[in-house]
């Protein structure tokens, strides 16, 4: 039926060299201090397309600082940023977005009184001459939400009437509007109930499957292990382990987070 010529070829010829592709985003030796407090010390991190990389750690381990650096909000004291193989600087949030790094912060930054469409296109409205093209924006909003299988009562419902999970979904959809390479999510399931967590985790999987790289900063290890491909542990601003999420045990990751030494043979 499908005469796959591949059977006659060598193992690598004509195949996409997945591992040879440059990471969508790579940080090398990133260091950042708040006065005398060193929040990040020599941190490396890379994210590929089709991948969820979780950043975990205790409060104050440096997760939020790392998110700040990736989003362009914080300019690191040292270190380089490589986007799609090209070295660059992230000096402002607008510039980070321009390079294809979209961040959804914990506060979501949605306007309660505006409806879903208005929130999605706030600051990036589609215009028809001097007027806003409401029809085009509504259609685009419907398409985007349907693609992500996000269920909202109506795209014209004010955000104030949505559940926590739906708000998170709207914020993620807005971040994806600019066709970024990498989506950075800061604690997306914090303070959500189980149904809403289910919706957000399923959405993260869908975003990953659509080809985006996802950085997931979270302290909820259950949620992290459910959707991440790789887990990177931060401890006191330094990298303290990297794990394959399918293989690593909960205890192993917790040990890296808390800094408990793990016996020989148990670590990886």
């Amino acid at each position: 039926m499908n005469g796959r010529a591949g059977n006659r070829r060598g193992p690598l010829e004509g195949e996409p060299a997945v591992l040879a592709e440059p990471p969508a985003l790579a940080l090398h030796g990133v260091t950042h201090s708040y006065g005398a407090v060193r929040a990040l010390v020599d941190v490396d991190l890379d994210v590929r397309r089709h991948e969820v990389v979780a950043v975990v750690g205790e409060n104050g381990a440096g997760k939020s600082t790392l998110v700040g650096v990736m989003s362009g909000v914080l300019v690191p004291d040292a270190g380089e940023v490589v986007v799609d193989g090209r070295e660059t600087q992230l000096t402002s949030p607008g510039q980070a977005r321009g390079l294809g790094i979209a961040t959804v912060f914990q506060d979501l930054a949605l306007c309660e009184d505006l409806d879903v469409v208005e929130n999605l296109f706030l600051g990036q409205e589609i215009r028809f001459g001097p007027l806003l093209d409401e029809v085009a924006m509504e259609r685009e909003a419907q398409r985007l939400l349907a693609q992500l299988a996000v269920r909202v009562p109506s795209v014209r419902a004010p955000v104030a009437s949505l559940s926590g999970g739906q708000r998170q979904a709207v914020a993620i959809a807005r971040a994806l509007l600019g066709e970024p390479r990498v989506l950075v999510l800061d604690e997306p399931t914090a303070a959500l109930g189980v149904t809403q967590t289910a919706e957000v985790l399923t959405l993260i999987e869908r975003v990953r499957d659509a080809g985006f790289g996802v950085v997931l900063a979270s302290h909820n290890l259950t949620d992290v292990q459910a959707v991440a491909d790789r887990v990177v542990v931060l401890r006191r601003g330094r990298l303290n382990g990297e794990f394959d999420a399918d293989v690593a045990g909960y205890e192993q990751i917790v040990a890296a987070i808390t800094g408990v030494a793990i016996g020989p043979g148990e670590g990886r």
């Binding site: 004509g14 195949e15 997945v18 985790l201 999987e205 290890l221 259950t222 292990q225």
Partner: protein
Amino acid sequence: MAGERTSGGSQTSLREANRARIVSAVQHRGSITQIELAGVTGLSTATISNIVKELVAAGVLQTTPTSRSGRRAQEVSLARNLGLVAGVHVGEREMRVALADVALKVVAEQRLPLPPGHRADSGLDRAALLIEELVETVGAPIGEVLAIGVGIPAPVDTRTGRVTAPRILAGWAEADVPAVLGDRLGLPVLVDNDSNLGALAEARLGIGRGLSDLLWVGLGHGIGMGVVVDGAVVHGRRGAAGEIGHVLDVEDGSTCRCGLRGCLEGSIGSAALAARLATTHGHLALRDIVGRALAGDAACGRVVGDAGRRLGRALSTAVTVLDPDVVVIDGDLAGAGEVLLGPLRTELEARAVPAEGGPVRVEVSGLGGAARVRGALVLALDAHRVGVPIGSLT
């Protein structure tokens, strides 16, 4: 009261028995036309028509106009207001919860990704919350739920609801699912192996409708099989019937989580497939492998094809022993379609006993990946006896 009485002495008891037969046939199929009801129950179409009319008036059944092969027909189902059933499928890496009416029409569902090696205590807690919140979204009180069916990816003793092969799902080994979930929600809870539920759903609602024997194979993180013989799911002595993931595939192979060596799951489970591609492709989820195989990635295609061949070899024994009407393939890997099924069929044709009528049909499930949670709904509905009005109905 809807007992197994066939023909009593009096006209009244005969009529009652016929009512019970019709209700049980409708419950069994979810929905069925009056003509089909006549075929299933052996009653005349006139009798069926009369009794259905009575039961509709009594609020037990409802009818909707439909068409079968271009003809107008009356489709009969249980009256929706009889209640709801809940189904839970606990997979290796996800949980699905669904809520359906008594005609097995799904009214709400939710999916939750789960971490590897998840445990029963938090799993059941989240399942209970998801059920409660789903019931709330449809605006019903929890009391309207008649029963909950639960599918677990390990052999289950259906009488106790406990896992009988503790090594296969370590985090659920000691769990008393019916007690924990039942006490929490105050509802009857039935538990079965998830592949058995996949087979049950396929036999009742999917490709197996109207067939008597089928094999249902779920291909994902683990490999499971459900066996239906003469229309009924086969459980075996301790609920482990159909554990095809743990038949021998590689002589002296590596040790499996079940304790045996060289199991089929160790060759074609998602971890094994990903491991074969790790050097060239890095970390891949099973759905990535399927997507790439379909997009023409030769290495992924070969790994999927090899899995089909190995599965075909193991299935040829099952097919030779049981001679089923159809083999249904489901799970994430089934998404690869012909890339998987082509080599699988070739292997089955070469190894299963040739018989009149050609090789066994092999098809991808018609239930869109939801067979196991639908089976959990069927399990819950089957456990509930729909009351049939007694005596004369006016």
